[in-house]
Amino acid sequence: MSDALFEYLCRMGDNTLVLGHRISEWCGVAPVLEEDIALANTALDLIGQTQLWLGLAGEVEGKGRDADQLAFHRDVWDFRNLLLVEQPNGDFGRTMMRQFLFDGWHLAQLKGLMTSSNDQIAAIAEKSVKEVTYHLERATDTVIGLGDGTEESHKRMQDALDRLYPFVGEMFIADAVDQAMVSDGIAPDPSTLRPDYDAMLDAVLAEATLQKPTDDFAHKGGKSGARHTEHLGHMLTQMQWLQRAYPDATW
């Protein structure tokens, strides 16, 4: 039981860690100053959530690992984030499309967690929902604005959607860990979140004048850790470098 819970908490924490890191790569080079501020703010929220999720994961594991040890001292195969969030930023449009696709799932997931049988999880979810509601609102506005903007912005957003859509399915595929969470009343079954997500996606994409790809093929292997993309390893070499190079130091 606690193994599955540990896995589940790592999934939540690794999603926010990896996406928070990706967004932080935008520091100082966003298309407009307001976006620099908003991206830093989103990254900050996600890193804050990571501290809570991975902190709790460490407690549940009971081997004395804290959030930093989990973040900076695991290798690729121990990461449990969705493949979607480790995808490189690409242009600003792709970054915001990735954010929108993730936020829609993330918010639904967190709302489900607010009634979790585990009080600590419910408390983290309650705090995070406020932040993620705003992330989704902003990402939605940007996807609509750029989708239904100029010919160029429309094309870039359609390219972003086509490129990232194959990573959507993984968010909703339930596995043994999810089933264990459902049977303990800890977390919602991700597959039940799909119909509302699809309805939300359809409405936003229609307003953005974007076409949802017809092929529902889904890459998977991120949340199980079975097969990440090549991108994650490069990200970890940068993110974990100081901790790995000076393991005896405190910072």
Binding site: E25, P31, I47, D68, A71, L146, E152, Q238
Partner: protein, 330 residues
């Protein structure tokens, strides 16, 4: 101090008797500690001088994100990463208030941005130095933000209302940044041998560039004299530099680090530290564009602006479509 070598009228300070009634009333209001607001009459020289100064400060906040952004993705703990993100976010926010303050003087943010990107407007020399180790994040907070605060605290009393009010908010956040920087230095200076070495190396590299932030001595400068008469500059460069050294030297000692100046010593009689001047040739080289990172910094800003064009155009086009639909619906 994020504004350096700001030109004023270059004509010297007029006496009250030489002023026309309007200008005399303006100067008397400043002398009495009053504030000038955007719609008030002001001399053209005052307006231009302020645009240069506030603009340079705003640009420094924006470019200043880059040397720190260089370490956000390598921050050693989640806590440090969050603090650095919050700091960079504050800086972008400072840029925003300052551009807004400058806009009240009749210049647009886009125009100022174009002048930054073309190299016509400057940003502080300090951001043309590289951040090479994690200790540099400590040194930047401790020394660079520390130097900036020296100038910004008195500017809360500057004569131009929007600038003074922006500075009040900025100062609160900057002093927090400085404490965070010092905290990083503490950890490093009291840490392992490698960390101590990084801390000392950061101090060695940032000490003189920090002293340069105040600009060369301006005791004889007609530009500074005018700015001071207008209360858009509150202290001389030398005064602020001395205050900075007086504050920082004991902190370095507390950290167990050595300031890279063999002439640094406390003078019991004056109650101040004596110290060596930085290499002003290097300072002028950096201003001319020959600092270690000038090329990269401007290149990064230009690339961000160019690559972001489609985003700005797309969002504007969408807003325009919505506006038209709203009008049609009325």
């Amino acid at each position: 101090m994020y504004a350096q070598m700001i030109k004023s009228t270059g004509e010297g300070v007029k006496s009250l008797d030489d002023m026309e009634p309007e200008e005399r009333a303006f100067q008397e209001r400043i002398n009495a500690g009053g504030k000038i607001e955007p719609k008030d009459w002001m001399p053209e020289g005052y307006r231009k001088n302020l645009i240069r100064q506030i603009g340079q400060h705003a640009h420094s906040e924006i470019v200043g994100q880059l040397p720190e952004g260089n370490w956000i993705t390598r921050a050693p703990t989640l806590e440090r990463k969050a603090i650095l993100l919050a700091k960079v976010q504050d800086e972008a926010g400072h840029g925003l208030y300052l551009y807004c303050a400058a806009e009240t003087l009749g210049v647009t943010r886009d125009q100022m941005t174009r002048d930054l990107l073309s190299g016509k407007m400057k940003y502080s020399s300090i951001f043309n130095y590289p951040t090479l180790t994690w200790a540099d994040m400590g040194a930047v907070g401790w020394l660079v933000d520390g130097a900036a605060i020296m100038n910004q605290v008195p500017l809360q009393r500057t004569s131009y209302g929007p600038y003074a009010r922006a500075m009040v908010r900025i100062c609160k956040e900057e002093s927090f940044h400085q404490r965070q920087g010092f905290d990083i230095m503490m950890k490093m200076a009291k840490g392992t041998e490698a960390q101590r070495k990084m801390a000392q190396d950061a101090l060695n590299r940032f000490w003189y560039p920090s002293l340069m932030m105040f600009g060369p001595s301006d005791a004889e400068s007609v530009h500074s004299a005018q700015s001071m008469a207008w209360k858009i500059k509150m202290n001389s460069n030398d005064e602020l530099r001395q205050k900075f050294v007086d504050q920082t030297a004991p902190q370095a000692e507390y950290l167990g680090l050595t300031v890279p100046d063999e002439n640094l010593k406390f003078n019991e009689e004056t109650g101040h530290y004596e110290f060596s001047e930085p290499d002003w040739d290097e300072f002028f080289d950096v201003l001319k564009g020959n600092g270690p990172c000038n090329t990269e910094r401007l290149e990064a800003r230009n690339r961000a602006w160019d690559e972001g064009r489609w985003v700005r155009e797309g969002l504007l086009a969408h807003a325009e479509k919505k506006r038209k639909t709203a009008i049609a619906a009325e």
